[in-house]
Symmetry: C2
Subunit: 343 residues, 2 copies
Amino acid sequence: MQVEDTAAAARVREPAMTDVARLAGVSHQTVSRVLNGHPNVREQTRLRVRAAIAELGYRPNRAARTLVTGRSQQIGVVAQNSTLYGPTSMLAAFELAAAAQGFAVSVRRVRVLDRSSIAAAVEHHRDQRVAGIVVIAPTASADEALAEIPADVPLVAVDGDPGRGGALVTVDQEEGAFAATRHLLEAGHQTVWHISGPSDWFDAAGRARGWRRALQEAGAEIPPVSSADWSAASGYRAGQMLARMPDVTAVFAANDHLALGAIRALAERGRRVPRDVSIVGFDDVPEAEFFSPPLTTMRPDFDGVATETLSLLLARIEGESGPSLRTLNPTLIPRESVAAPRD
Amino acid sequence: MQVEDTAAAARVREPAMTDVARLAGVSHQTVSRVLNGHPNVREQTRLRVRAAIAELGYRPNRAARTLVTGRSQQIGVVAQNSTLYGPTSMLAAFELAAAAQGFAVSVRRVRVLDRSSIAAAVEHHRDQRVAGIVVIAPTASADEALAEIPADVPLVAVDGDPGRGGALVTVDQEEGAFAATRHLLEAGHQTVWHISGPSDWFDAAGRARGWRRALQEAGAEIPPVSSADWSAASGYRAGQMLARMPDVTAVFAANDHLALGAIRALAERGRRVPRDVSIVGFDDVPEAEFFSPPLTTMRPDFDGVATETLSLLLARIEGESGPSLRTLNPTLIPRESVAAPRD
DNA sequence: TGCATCAGAGTGAACGCTCACATCTGCCCA
DNA sequence: TGGGCAGATGTGAGCGTTCACTCTGATGCA
C-alpha cells in the first residue's frame, strides 16, 4: 500500500528529458543529442544517458517535438469510407510501408468524395501539422478539391486524374484494360462488351478508354457500355442485359466483383462461362481464383503503388515540387473464364 | 513579384493565438476561450475574435494543446495487416464514428499478431500520447500482449478473448455459429460438417464452439473439423476432402470466402450446392449474394461493433475501469445455398 | 609558444497553447 | 452608500522539446 502510494505519486508526472539529464549527470541538450543520434557525443556519455532512459522508462514527448519543429512524424491519409478491395489493399500496404520509415499514419475517412468533404479532411490533417498528406482521390470531384490546396503542403494523390499537375501515383488503368481486351480478342472473339465502373471515377474512365482503344486498333465494332457502380449487385444487373443478347460472347468487367455479378446473371439465363461467354475482370481479389469458373483478371501492384506513393511523398516533404506522375502496369492473370467462341 | 515576396515573408510564421488576440484587441486567453466554447465571453467579443480568426486564416496548433494538456485528440488503433473483410469493415466503421466525435484515428498495422509486434505498436501509440487505444486482437498471442499493458492506458479490445478481463467488444461468434448450424439441422440434415478458421483465432474458436453445441443439443453426430485459414484457397482444399465423402450433405463454413472455395471444390467433383450439399457461411460479404448459388450466411453488425467500441473507449478515457464485455448478435441471411437433403 | 580548430558539452530562449489565478467592471441588495 | 458577487477579461507561468549560441579543453601546426 505504502509502496503503491509512492509509486503513484511518482507517476503523477511522466519523466521528461530533464529528469533523464539529472540522473545521467548531463544537460538536457545532451540527452536530446543522444536521442537524435547526433555524432558529437562521447560513447561513455551516450551509454550513461541510455541507462538513465531505461531506468526511468522515459519516452520522448512527440507533441513537444512537433511544437518546436512545426512538423510531426505523421502522414495523413484521406480515403473514402468503403471496403472496396483496391483502395483497402493500397491503404494497408501504405500503412506498413510508412511504419517502416518511422511514420505514423492517421486516416480520415469521408463518406462521399465531394469537394467539401475532401477539403475538410485535408484541413483536419493540416491542423495536426502532419508531415505530408496522401489523398486516395479516384473521382473528378475529389480532384477539384485537390486543386485548391496550397502548393506548399506536401501532397500525393493516388488514383487521381493522370492529366492533373502535382504528384500522382496510379495503376495504369488504360494499359490494363487494353491488355484484358486484347486477351479476349486474341481468343477469337469478334468484339468485347464492357461493364464499366462509375463514370466519375478515373479508374473506370481509364479502363473504358483502354477497352475502346483495343477494339479500335483491332478494327472491331464498339458496343455500348453498361455503366455500373463497383458492386456485384450492379454487375448482376448489367449481366441480365448482356444475357439477353445472343451475340455477346466476350465481356470485360471493370472489376472482379462486377464480373462475379455478371457471371451469376448469365448463369441464371443458362449462358455458361466460358462456354457461351468469356469474361475478364480487374483487381484479382483473392477469391477470384475460386469463382465459378475461376476468373481471368488483371492484377494491379498495390504494394508497388504504396511504395511509390511513400517515396514520392517523402521527396516532397524534403522540398521537391512540380508535377510528377508514376504509373504501374497491372499483370494479366489467365484462368478459366476465357475461351474461344463457339460458332 | 513584389507582392508575392511580401506574402511569402508574412507566411514565414503561421499565425498564432497571440496574433489573433492582437488583431481582435483582446488577450490570448480570450481567444482560447472562444475556441473552446467557454461560456463567459460576451457575444460581441466572440464575434470580433471569430472575425480575426477568419481574417488571419488562423488554425489552432494541436501539438501545443497536446503538450500542455498531456492528451491528444487521437485514438490509436492496432490491427493486422490484412484485407480480411471483417476487420476491414470494422476499421472503416470505427474511423467514421471516431471522426464524428472529433477524434482522429491513427492506425498501426502489424504483420503478425504476436506478442512483441502488438506491444511495439501499443508503445508507439503511447509515445504519441493518444487518448485511447483500440486493439483488434483476434488471436491468443495478441491477447497475451494486452495483458502486459499498464491498466491506466484506456484500451478496448475488439474480437479478443471474451474470457479475459478488461474492455472487450465482439460479435457473438458462438451464437452466430449456433444459429447457422441450427438452420441447417432444421432444413432436415442429419448432421453438419464444419470448415473452421485458424484455431488460434477467437472468432474461429467461438464459431466452432457454437457449431458443436448446436449439434450436441440436437443429439447429432459430431464430425471431425476441417481446419483452414480464412482464405478461399483453404476453403477449396477443405472442400476437396468433403466432396469425396458421400454422406456430407451440410457444411457450415467459418466465413464466406471459405464457403466460396468449398463450393468450387464441390462443383469440380460434381456435387452441386444446394442440391447435393447445403452450405452456410459467415460475414455476409457484399458479394455473397452473387455466389453460385447465392450464399446463406450470418451477418455481423460491424457498425454496431464500431459504435460500441468507441463508446466504451470514451468511457475509459473518462476514467471508468474494470472488466466490461459487450457482444453483438449476428443475423441469419437466408439465401439459396441451403435446401433439404435428398434421400 | 601561440593561436586556430574542433569535439564535446552546456545555457537559455523559443514554440503556441492551457491552467490557475488576478483584476476589473457593473449590479443587486442590505 | 457600500459590500458582495458574478460575469468578463487579463496576466504569467509552464508543458517538454529543439535551436542557436556559448563555453571548455584538447589537438595540430606554424
